[in-house]
Symmetry: C2
Subunit: 137 residues, 2 copies
């Protein structure tokens, strides 16, 4: 029982707005707010935040993007093995903004162990490290 959110397989192709939003996210290693994404898509006809949030919701469902709760921002998924139901964690550099995604079975095991001992049934876990990446120290 891994504390991981459900991931729906992506549809055959992304819709226009989904593709636009994913394109922006995928083009940077910086986390972007929904409004920052919107600003970059004005020329493509997007005008309202809800259009971005709708696309983001689907990309999150598909496992193609992640939300960083501590930043209220989003990144494209860069995980090597998104199919495995492993807990994903993030290291966020407070200097350059770079986000590194990582997973580890022992982290899953630890959280599953704690959850079992407390009889807590996790559905979603947020783990975010803030600090300085190796290049910025």
């Amino acid at each position: 029982m891994s504390p991981t959110a459900q991931v729906t397989p992506p549809p055959r192709t992304l819709t226009k707005n989904e593709a636009l939003v994913f394109g922006i996210l995928n083009g940077t290693d910086q986390p972007l707010s929904a409004y920052a994404i919107l600003d970059q898509l004005r020329d493509d006809g997007l005008r309202a935040p809800v259009q971005v949030y709708r696309a983001l919701d689907r990309l999150l469902e598909f496992g193609m993007a992640h939300r960083l709760e501590s930043l209220n921002a989003f990144v494209a998924c860069n995980h090597d093995h998104p199919e495995e139901a492993a807990q994903t964690a993030f290291a966020i550099c407070e200097s350059c903004g770079k986000v590194t995604e990582f997973t580890d079975p022992s982290l899953d095991e630890y959280l599953a162990y704690w959850a079992k001992s407390e009889n807590f049934a996790p559905t979603r876990t947020t783990l975010e490290l803030r600090g300085l990446c190796s290049a910025c120290q």
Copy 2:
């Protein structure tokens, strides 16, 4: 090197607004937004969000409250040993809202190990489990 935020010792006594805000937080096991706290303090003369946020900032400094990033909400610290510089994690019940705070040395060790292997220097870590508490399953 534990990835834990700096904690300033509390002053001799809390100021009036700090005490009011802490009183509200301490009276519930539910996370409260700053605006929910404000609503409960109208009768005590508080009128603006910034008054609550200022008090919260200090309570966070003193280690007397925590911010739940995934909820944009706050809880009183309920940790058994806040002096130990251990990573604090939260289990948040999505049914009843109850928040359980916990720490574990092995979690600290795991994060410290990962940080060292990546040469990442953490300053602050967010770990929040969402799910169902034992009473709500």
